[in-house]
C-alpha cells in the first residue's frame, strides 16, 4: 500500500530537519584556504591580462606588416604610377645600344646588317642570288 500525501509530507519534514542539522566539518574551511595557499593559486582579475594581450596583438601586427612599397617608378604620375607594371631589367633599347655606334656595317646578300633592318623577302633574295651565280658561271 502506497503512502498518502500527508504521510509523505510528514516523512519529508523529518528528513529535512535531519538534513539541515548536517554541517560541514570545521576542517573544510581551513582545508580550502590552506589548499589554495599551498598550491600557490592566487586571484588574478581578468583585467590584469589586458596589457599583456595588447602587447601580444601589437607584436603580431608588427610581424605580419607587409614590406614598404617601392617608390613610384614613373615620377610625376602620382598614384597612377603604382598601377603600371614595373620596368623590366633589360629593355629593348638597352639591348640595341650594346653595339657601338662606330661598328662597321657588314652586309651580305640575304642577311640583314642590323636587326633594325627589315628582313628581305626570301623568295626574292634567293632568285637574285641565283642570277648572280649564273652570270659568274657564264
Amino acid at each position: 500500500m502506497s503512502l498518502n500525501d500527508e504521510q509523505l509530507d510528514h516523512l519529508i519534514d523529518r528528513a529535512r530537519r535531519t538534513h539541515q542539522e548536517a554541517t560541514a566539518p570545521p576542517s573544510l574551511h581551513r582545508a580550502v584556504i590552506d589548499g589554495l595557499a599551498t598550491t600557490g593559486r592566487r586571484y588574478r582579475p581578468w583585467y590584469l591580462a589586458l596589457p599583456v594581450a595588447a602587447l601580444a596583438v601589437v607584436a603580431v601586427l608588427l610581424v605580419q606588416r607587409p614590406a614598404p612599397e617601392p617608390a613610384a617608378t614613373y615620377p610625376g604620375l602620382g598614384a597612377a604610377s603604382r598601377a603600371l607594371p614595373e620596368r623590366p631589367a633589360t629593355s629593348v633599347p638597352a639591348m640595341i645600344s650594346i653595339r657601338p655606334a662606330a661598328m662597321p656595317s657588314v652586309s651580305w646578300p640575304g642577311i640583314p646588317s642590323s636587326i633594325d633592318e627589315p628582313k628581305p623577302d626570301p623568295a626574292e633574295t634567293t632568285g637574285r642570288h641565283h642570277n648572280q651565280l649564273m652570270e659568274n658561271v657564264s
Binding site: A22, L28, H29, A31, R41, P45
Partner: protein, 175 residues
C-alpha cells in the same frame, strides 16, 4: 567603514574580492560551506567524499572567479559547480551510490533512522532530475523559482518534476 562579512550580500562579497579583498572569498566559503557540503552528501552519500567534493567545489570556484560576470547569482553559480563536481565524483566511482556513511547514523533514534533510511533509499531510486528537485525543494527549502534558477529550467518543469517525484516516492515508500 568596513562592513561585517555576514552583513554583505554574496554579490558584494564577490565584488569586494574582485577589488582585492582577499578575505571576502573566505567569508563566502564560510557562508556556503554547509549547504554545499549537504548537497554533496546528498549526491555522493558518503561523508568523506562529500568533504573532498566540497573542497573541490570551492577550489574550482576560486579559479573561475575571474570569469564570473555577475549574470547569475553567486550561489546559483556555486550550486552548478557543486553539481558538476558531484557528477564527476560519481562517474569516477562507477558504482551505485551508497546509502549513507556509518558515522552519519550513529546518534539517531531507531525510528528516525528507519524513516530516513526509507526516504534515502527511495530518493536514490528516483531519476536524477527528480532527486535533484526533491533535494532542493524539500530538503534545502528553495522556492520553485529558485529551484528553477538553480537547475536552469522553467518553473513549470520544476512543478512537473516535483509531482512525478512525489508520486514515485509514495509508491516506493510503503506505509
Amino acid at each position: 567603514m568596513c562592513m561585517r562579512d555576514d552583513e554583505r550580500t554574496d554579490e558584494q562579497l564577490l565584488r569586494a574580492f574582485h577589488a582585492g579583498d582577499s578575505l571576502a572569498f573566505s567569508a563566502l566559503v564560510r557562508r556556503h560551506q554547509d549547504a554545499v557540503f549537504r548537497l554533496c552528501q546528498r549526491w555522493l552519500f558518503q561523508t568523506e567524499q562529500a568533504e573532498d567534493a566540497a573542497q573541490e567545489v570551492f577550489t574550482r570556484a576560486f579559479g573561475a572567479l575571474p570569469r564570473f560576470r555577475f549574470r547569475a547569482k553567486p550561489f546559483t553559480w556555486l550550486y552548478r559547480t557543486t553539481r558538476l563536481v558531484c557528477h564527476e565524483f560519481n562517474r569516477e566511482r562507477q558504482h551505485a551510490a551508497l546509502p549513507e556513511s556509518e558515522a552519519g547514523r550513529q546518534d539517531r533514534s531507531a525510528d528516525t533512522q528507519d524513516a530516513l533510511e526509507q526516504l534515502s533509499q527511495a530518493l536514490q531510486k528516483l531519476p536524477a532530475r527528480q532527486r535533484e528537485v526533491m533535494t532542493l525543494r524539500f530538503l534545502e527549502e528553495f522556492s520553485v523559482a529558485e529551484t528553477a534558477d538553480l537547475m536552469g529550467c522553467r518553473q513549470g518543469t520544476v512543478k512537473a518534476l516535483t509531482f512525478k517525484a512525489r508520486e514515485r516516492l509514495k509508491v516506493l515508500i510503503r506505509s
